[in-house]
Amino acid sequence: MGRTDIGPPDYKDMLPPVIKKNYGKWKFHETIRPGVLRHVSESGDELYTVRAGSPRLLSIDFVRDICDVADKYCDGYLRFTSRYNIEFMTDKKANVDALIEELKRLGLPVGGTGNAISNIVHTQGWIHCHSAATDASGLVKAIMDELYDYFTSMKLPAYVRIAVACCINMCGAVHCSDLAIVGVHRKPPKVDHEKVLAQCEIPTIIQSCPTGAIRRHPDPNVKSVVVREDLCMYCANCFTVCPAMPLADPEGDGVAIYAGGKVSNARKPPMFSRMVVPYLPNNPPRWPEVVDIIKKIVEVYASNAKKYERMGEWIERIGWEKFFKLTGIPFTEQHIDDFTHAVETYRTTTQFKW
């Protein structure tokens, strides 16, 4: 048996020399072109960062490739960002162009800085999760192909942060993203009574349901549960605690789109993303309906928002009713909240636009 509880390596061993030297002494930065930052230290030292897009799901050989690049230009160091991008840092300005060339060769886009669409925070999907109502990696690829230009440029009014989660567990920060794509079920769990008996605890199942839709099986001889389908809103909580209650269904599953969330405290406080499309079908490999609507929203936003106005700030200024008008997205009964704090979303004023 090996060592335990050693924790991760000390970050100090992972820092390039110029960072070690100027740690805590950075004075200002500028973005000299999309994907390239220049940080200047109190000491006068400079640091150039080249940010490259990444598919996140990486083969080890590819990791070795980027290590080669880092060895060649970055003293053998690199880092990843909180959005899976890869950052190559060097104190030599001369290295920047060569670095970019090298990354191009590896097929990696340079960008994601400033008023861009950076990489999409996402999750496992059909690659690894039993809970997935859609695939994450495929959606990301299809969307980023379409929005590629926004990654490599900085032409948007402000940051647009996109996230994809393959189910409403919402691994990631989907609930607070400018644009969020979420896998959703639309069919209640199909209870496998024998499996319930073998694998699950009935009280735990019953407790897990936020709407109280689950009851003991009416037949006391059947040690299982039944679902009141009219009370089920397909959250899959029961499935999380009991594998015998799968919800996945090719016709029922698909994605919902939420918009207008943010996390930073800049200007407006953080905001939740809010439903703009309740459901679109899973249409792999390229989810054209999803890609279209995402692109549409980005374009309407890009041409209407003011400079430095995040999606949610823009919508808050113009009003949601105007957002639906401008984007042409239909407003449906699903948009109206009916969960715990729903009433706080109801409009208590005569102020609105037609």
């Binding site: 509880d5 970050y11 992972m14 640091l47 691994c171």
Partner: protein, 387 residues
């Protein structure tokens, strides 16, 4: 299984780097990766996941760090029939020397599918797909190289923080050091699940919150300052002389109306008392405006995703706290919170849900934090008061 993946092949087209290409590359060396490709193609065809609930698998002495995973078509895809992931705790700030990275690759070449995530969205290195038998030897090999597992299950999860003082001029405290220190202090809490549910800690050096802590952490540490931000008027003039529209882009967007542009004296005037430290003016004029010097952090609690009672953004708990090693105050606060949660929380009840259930007032009393108006947007509107 057939070698053909017509649906996935579509995803090798287009300018964005393709994850399918990555799987195919790994599939050249590893059968597990090849089977993964097949499973994924099948999911694209069937529009449904082919993974089953994970059983309890792991390494000796730990309760967390491994997510068990089984394919529902083991006959068809025997090499991915078991396809567990290992969550490896990352070095704070996600900095690596290539030596360490290569060591991870080598180990994973030996014991796993050759596929990884850099990173999972909590911040772990995800080693994607191995068998039950390989877990322990893989773990042993990794610890040899200085890497350890991260959190999963009802444990403290892998702590993460923004790049902070390593490369950012705005960090109000040393995020990397705090993340590392807390991670080392709470190894036991990370590795041995024993709470009602998961618990997450994230640290951002300033209110820009580049790790999205406020939305995703039960315990959120966000750098801020207590004195006035610093303005270099000469540098301001420089921006303005270069055509920067300071009035519309900065002054008008200040959320608290704390700024005024004096067109005559060419000065940006600040009413420091009114500034709510939103970072906007600093963000857009980094050469002219900087945070103050009396720095520290705001502690917020309760951020989380929708399960079960809905999503929560973190709430202000401690408006200002100094963040200096050995971080005893923060550790003490964490321990008090865990004690309270451990004692009062129900299974699968995150901290926010517990606080909502028992009331913020009672929570404050229990952990000994005095009420302050900074904790709320506004006082209660209802008259239903416990005296």
């Amino acid at each position: 299984m057939s070698d053909e993946t017509p649906l996935l092949d579509e995803l090798e087209k287009g300018p964005w780097p393709s994850y399918v290409t990555q799987i195919k590359r790994a599939a050249k060396k590893k059968k597990a990766a090849k089977d993964l490709l097949g499973i994924q193609e099948l999911s694209y065809k069937d529009r449904i996941t082919h993974w089953k609930h994970g059983g309890i698998v792991g390494v000796t002495g730990y309760g967390s760090g491994v997510i068990g995973r089984y394919c529902d078509q083991p006959e068809k895809f025997p090499d991915a029939a078991q396809f567990h992931t290992m969550r490896i705790n990352h070095p704070a700030g996600w900095f690596y020397n290539t030596k360490s990275l290569r060591e991870i690759c080598d180990t994973w070449e030996q014991y796993g599918s050759g596929l990884t995530n850099f990173h999972g969205s909590t911040g772990d290195i995800i080693l994607l797909g191995t068998t039950t038998d390989n877990l322990q030897p893989c773990f042993d090999a990794l610890t040899e190289k200085g890497f350890d597992l991260g959190g999963s299950g009802s444990a403290l999860r892998t702590i993460s923080g923004c790049v902070g003082q390593a490369r950012c001029e705005w960090a109000n405290f040393d995020t990397l050091n705090l993340v590392y220190d807390l991670t080392m202090e709470f190894q036991d809490e990370i590795h041995r699940p024993r709470w009602p549910y998961k618990f997450k800690i994230k640290a951002s050096g300033c209110p820009n919150d580049c790790v999205a802590a406020i939305a995703r952490a039960d315990f959120t540490i966000i750098g801020t300052w207590r004195d006035s931000l610093r303005i270099d008027q000469a540098a301001i003039r420089n921006y303005v002389d270069n055509g920067f529209e300071i009035k519309t882009l900065i002054v008008d967007k200040c959320p608290s109306g704390a700024l005024e542009w004096d067109d005559k004296s060419k000065e940006l005037k600040l009413n420091a008392e009114d500034c709510v430290r939103c970072m906007h003016c600093i963000n857009k004029m980094p050469k002219a405006i900087r945070p103050g010097v009396d720095t520290g952090a705001t502690i917020l609690v309760g951020g989380k995703a929708p399960i079960i009672k809905g999503a929560y953004l973190s709430w202000v708990l401690v408006p200002f706290i100094k963040v200096e090693p050995p971080y005893e105050e923060i550790k003490g606060l964490l321990r008090k919170i865990w004690d309270f949660w451990d004692e009062n929380g129900r299974t699968r009840e995150r901290l926010a849900e517990l606080i909502e259930r028992v009331g913020l007032k009672n929570f404050l009393k229990e952990i000994g934090v005095p009420p302050m108006p900074q904790m709320v947007y506004k006082p209660r509107a209802n008259p239903y008061v416990y005296f």
